[in-house]
């Protein structure tokens, strides 16, 4: 099989070689050289440029039309909605620039395709024009910077809501553990040398603050409408806690504690009924049916988004956004770490 493929490639090369020889020999009779760009070439390529532009833009709008509703659902957090608005404004702006400048590029290529009669205009510079297209982008960028940084500072200020839920996301090859601060609202200290089978996140067993901490795996719950402060740690290599539906992401770096805060504003149950999500899940399940996979329901997800080893592609945890009451019922059922150690 491989031999045949190789043989085919060799034959193709020989055929191409022979073909070129024939073309060159027949060319020998003509005056022009093969490499010289003729008026016909210019005409053809100029028109091809214009045609390409039409097809390129058509391809762009085809993609938008077909794939845009497969993007992530509208943000499920308060700051996320602001990010979405800012995103839209920026995307419209760059799409406009993308279309207009590409249009002029390909249009000029078509319009000024060379002929033997034409003579180009000798134009070296134009200060007014150049000032204009330095200043206009500068002003547009100033707005982008101002709005971007305004939101950035809001998002990145330290969590300070006294009623916030503090959760540690602990990453290791290749799974996640969530640790809740418990009733005292404070996480116990950690010490990596104490990591063991019964102490998977390396909690400092001498720190009483950690005695009411709660460890959960596979999925973790958060209450809607309350500030969630995530503190990220890693056991081994860099991971990244990526919660795309909440527009939240932060790397988990060994030796450091990183943070990200957000306020979820739609429960999982509400999100499942959101028309955008209903349509999206229908698409997903239609595709799954083709592969004979069982249908699935929407869930918020935590993914790893920094290359971390062989199973990087499968490091996930479900996130459930509950109403306050449901959250309370769930958290009360969870085992406290100290108890968990004792049980072992």
């Amino acid at each position: 099989m491989n031999f045949l493929v190789l043989l085919a490639i060799v034959l193709l090369i020989i055929a191409g070689h022979q073909l070129l020889r024939v073309i060159e020999l027949s060319r020998g009779l003509k005056k022009t050289k093969e490499w010289q760009v003729s008026e016909t070439d210019n005409n053809m390529m100029g028109k091809a440029m214009f045609l390409f532009m039409i097809l390129f833009f058509a391809f762009f709008f085809w993609q938008v039309n077909r794939w845009m509703d497969r993007s992530l659902p509208p943000a499920a957090s308060i700051h996320g909605q602001k990010i979405d608005d800012l995103w839209d404004a920026n995307i419209y702006l760059i799409t406009f620039v993308f279309l207009v400048t590409n249009f002029f590029l390909f249009w000029f290529a078509y319009k000024y395709r060379g002929t033997s009669k034409a003579k180009a205009v000798f134009l070296t510079h134009n200060n007014k024009l150049e000032m204009a297209w330095t200043i206009i982008p500068a002003v547009a960028l100033a707005f982008i910077v101002i709005f971007g940084l305004k939101y950035w500072n809001e998002i990145m200020t330290e969590a300070n809501d006294p009623k916030r839920v503090v959760i540690e996301l602990y990453a290791k090859q290749f799974d996640w553990t969530a640790r809740y601060a418990g009733k005292d609202g404070k996480l116990g200290e950690s010490e990596y040398r104490q990591i063991s089978g019964s102490n998977p996140v390396g909690m400092d067993t001498s720190d009483v603050l950690g005695y009411d901490d709660i460890l959960v795996k596979n999925e973790f719950h958060i209450p809607v409408g309350r500030e969630i402060e995530l503190k990220m740690r890693s056991r081994d290599v860099i991971h990244s806690a990526y919660l795309p539906h909440f527009r939240a992401q932060m790397n988990c770096v060994p030796g450091m504690i990183t943070t990200f805060k957000f306020v979820p504003n739609k429960t999982t149950a509400e999100m499942k009924k959101d028309p955008y999500v209903v349509k999206m899940m229908a698409g997903i399940n239609a595709q799954r049916a083709k592969f004979n996979k069982e249908p699935v329901e929407f869930d918020y997800l935590l993914l790893c988004n920094k290359i971390c080893g062989a199973s990087h592609y499968n490091m996930q945890m479900n996130v459930i956004v509950d109403t306050e009451a449901d959250y309370k019922a769930w958290i009360d059922k969870q085992k406290v770490f100290k108890t968990a150690v004792a049980a072992n």
């Binding site: 090369i13 490499w35 590029l105 070296t124 510079h125 990526y242 698409g283």
Partner: protein, 607 residues
Amino acid sequence: MGTVKNSELEKEHLVHHDHVHDHDDHEESFVSKYLFSMDHKMISRQFLITAIVMAVIAMGMSIIFRMQLAWPGEHFGFINAMLGDKWGKDGVLDPNMYLALVTIHGTIMVFFVLTGGLSGTFANLLIPYQVGARDMASGFLNMLSFWFFFVSAAIMTASLFINDGPASAGWTIYPPLSALPEAIPGSKLGMTLWLVSMTLFVVSSLLGGINYIVTVLNLRTKGMKMTRMPLTVWAFLITAILGVLSFPVLVSCVVLLICDRSLGTSFYLSDIYIGGRPLDNVGGSPVLFEHLFWFLGHPEVYIVLLPALGITSEVIATSSRKPIFGYRAMIGSMLAIGFLSFIVWGHHMFMTGMNPFLGSVFVFTTLLIAIPSAVKAFNYITTMWKGNIQFTPAMLFSIGLVSSFITGGVTGIILADSTLDINVHDTYFVVAHFHIVMGLSAIFGMFAGVYHWFPKMFLRMMNKKLGFIHFWITLTMAYGVFFPMHFLGLAGVPRRYYTNSNFPMFDNLVDINEIVTICAIIGALGQGVFLFNFFYSIFRGEKAPQNPWNSNTLEWTTPMAHIHGNWPGSLPVVHRWAYDYSKPGKEKDFVPQTVPLEEGEHDGESH
């Protein structure tokens, strides 16, 4: 001062020339002519052919992992034939090998093709030719530069064949993943070879870069003022300065990593528990590595792009038969880009836990860099306005470059905005962005250079029709590969995932991945047209005339033979800038730089 030195060299050369006049061509042995050559023209060809071989390897890798991404778990005889039973058992790609392929694909493309290949080939070929020098300032260092590059490329290629597989921590090799052999098999011998290879690469790059700078500053011929230099030379000069200032930082970054790996230091390591035991390392920080890496890494982006932009400036002006629009603005823009590229590296690190205030500074500086970039794009488009465009294959690729520079550039504005970066950081949106600027723009610039200067390199012409076919396949398929990736990013697909099938939320993206892979395969096969044209034309192409594109620059005044010292007699004298195309009152639509100014005639932009 420059001209004084040059004329001294000139005298020396003439004496030498008279002395050995008749022996020049005979005395060179195969080894000194083809292997350890000190001639810039031969070194340039050595760089180009090495880079082409590396590019084919890296492109082949991308096809393998694209097949896995479009049809995860399918059995492919091709994958088994390429990787054997160990990495491609039953034709299914191994997850560790997937990461290794992604890593080496990126490394080869960024360093060996777009840095060594692009600068090495064209800076070597064009700097002495276009400034009117006999050769590089130091032919010996230039030769060393190539051979360090070659050994470095050989080591990187050799690492593909070792037992544990090559480095696989991503081309950015963030520790601790790259530092700990327990973390991933690629961090055993493979990573050691990667680090050794990159160190040699930096040596090559420095030797080359210093040579380029010295040659441009000191060996310009009489009349070749800085403000008369073609934009290609300006681009290579600024690129070389960026390289000389930033590559040493990569070495320090690599040396510290070697220490952590082999000597038990803790520069990048702290509080790690792996392989069932806690490590002793305390106090280091992987974020330090990221700072050092990106201090090179971001200027590197412009080291890749500026030469391509320089080549394009030359090709667009020549083929539009018009002066480049805003020559001084183009130089200013390149200088601004070069300067700013040193203070934007942190935009790769918004999500690393770096202080958010620091992030804001980088948002500001990064968005500033969009201004000179926009000026360049507008100036290219205006150069074509009211031109008499000759669609050589080089011109087609240059137009492709401008298009992709815009398309890939505008998404940079999104990614530079830390607020918007939160949700697309490390997703396919980023992959789309940097492939459109580097994989399209920079590669198109390289193709434009090859088609345009092939006659100077190999004294023959490439086939035009095959060039046309190559361009259209490449442009359409390249957009077909990388445009849809934006939509994968919008759906939140992280990069470097071996398969997306473990997340139901990505199940509706299967057809996008298939389109990407099919375009990648057709595009890769299309490069066969180029390879055939390239190697065929080296031996059988039509003989090139003296100045096939009616160009103004000095390289077209050299005879169509590769002679030692480039010009047989004395060096040419320059009287005007390089862009007098279609100048009113002239008989022809081009005026070479060696033609004296007429009385009352203005030079350059001054009118």
